[in-house]
Amino acid sequence: MYVAVKGGEKAIAGAHALLAKARRGDRALPELSLEQIAEQLGLAVDRVMTEGSLYDRRAAALAIKQARGDLIEAIFLLRAYRTTRPRFGNSLPLDTAEMRTERRISATFKDLPGGQVLGPTFDYTHRLLDFGLAEAEPAQGADSPALPVEGSESQDGPEAMPRVVDLLDHDGLIEREAPADEESVGDLTREPLAFPAERDLRLQNLARGDEGFLLGLAYSTQRGYGRTHPFAGEIRFGTVSVELVPEELGFAIEIGEIAVTECQMVNQFKGSAKEPPQFTRGYGLTFGHCERKAMAMALVDRSLRCRELGEPVEAPCQDEEFVLSHSDNVQATGFVEHLKLPHYVDFQSELELVRKMRASHERNRADSSD
């Protein structure tokens, strides 16, 4: 009989127990450690840190473990944890020209100061399942020799690696990036997003945005929905130092290093009444190594600059409200999945309405057949 909603409390406790059991899986197998996740599923950790907007490898690894590898769930966990963290202040802007790069490529120049450095990339691998990997290799002690890696920077010492856009900037061929007033950089986790949004908030929104959503939007611009004629001016990945000026000191101190991926897209621009023809920029930045995300972000950033550059808003990717309101996967998954919650009373109201409308439909039909 009428049991549907009774016992919610017991049911929840039972569901939690089942979840814990499913998460652990077969207890005959060793449990994953956070170190293993951080080391061997590093790109998952990078994605969770980026979209969770919290640079903490250990917390991200824990989130991935707790979420059973569901990365959006892990991002959600990290976001909820981030909310509770106190704020010490704002860092100085990162100087990515000073990055200790592990990877740096440009699709616009064959060679350039600092050279092209492939670094750890899937790009030129053949996507053949490597059955050799299926067998676990024995763990090696810290003293065993590392894999030989040739051509890494250590051999001839780091060479200066100016950013490609700065080279173009030197020739006046690319738009000037006017540094915004540093005090006014917004934070959409502290102030609600209002439209129209400025570029600082748009970039923050995109940096936190879902990789898949941005990828699809970026792809759509390449297929004619708001074309931006992009070139991958530069993609670089490596570590940069984070500096902070504590109020009581009054000068900058380094508080740590973070790994970031930066993408600078260079886009054609025919010029306007005010501006000469020149290249324009799209920018992408992520924590860790999230190259696909950084590239998609840069394409979408450029598309969203249509208002500023006087381009007509015709495609979804150029529509600021559409893009920014739907990019956040924690918001999206919550609202889509809330349809699992009971809607008895609303459905009851609709049932009643449909019955009423059907009754009047029947009456009308009976009347007209008379």
Partner: protein, 322 residues
Amino acid sequence: MNETAPIRRTSALPESGDLHSDGVGATASDATAADGAYNFAFLDEQTKRMIRRALLKAVAIPGYQVPFASREMPMPYGWGTGGVQVTAAIIGPEDILKVIDQGADDTTNAVSIRQFFVRTTGVETTTETGDATIIQTRHRVPEQPLQEDQILVYQVPIPEPLRFLEPRETETRTMHALRDYGLMHVKLYEDIAKHGHIATTYAYPVLVNGHYVMDPSPTPKFDNPKMHEMAALQLFGAGREKRIYAIPPHTKVKSLDFEDHPFEVQRWSSCCALCGATDSFLDEIVTDDRGGRMFVCSDTHYCETRRAAGHVGLAAAQGAEP
């Protein structure tokens, strides 16, 4: 709103939640009630102050959607994060909390939100509508009239009543500012032209204090008249959409209608099968796969109170107790 003014418990900083210390943080499993890992009611005091400011503004401009810096909460968006933040901002240690979903205290999400507040505040909870100082609700207004010392907190998915007529926030904010509600009236008129009546049964738009058209959240229109001149303060929180709005006590709330098509609420041909009530919102329960149905009160406390007072419905009389 005497609960909101003083901050009666100051922050117990989440030191023990530090992931880099050995304990790997406060995870869901170590359930120390009102646990010290988080501040009272989860949110930090700065955030509560920000939400209280938004609430004060909302009370001062009834029905106006106040943007607020909604936080990421440990439950999903769309599952009551707005209501939870409002409750967290107004709750004090002496409050008595009731949480309902679909009118019931024991639906899973109501249980989950109640447990969250028990864990983070240690406050007393109740299912008695009359005993609660704060009632957080999703989709219903309790049947029992509320009093002046009570606060009703609604969870709101889409706060903008004009959203499905105009998707752009920039447009709808202008429309509200100009009281430009022609689009809404045209929609209701088209309903009448097409169906002979207004085909909106829940989230039925209301005009608050003669100015703002407001979404009452997806409560059935049955509950709209209860919002009018309600003695209790009504607060609405939309977390994902980052909006707070309010109806102060004893404020005019009018469901939109036309002179020749006045607003009316749902009616049932049956009464509650358990308590025999004829004045409550009834849920339809499917009892078998041969078309068997029974109707019972959606407000579980109302139904239980009536049964305790000796009222008996048809099913209960036949011995089919739940």
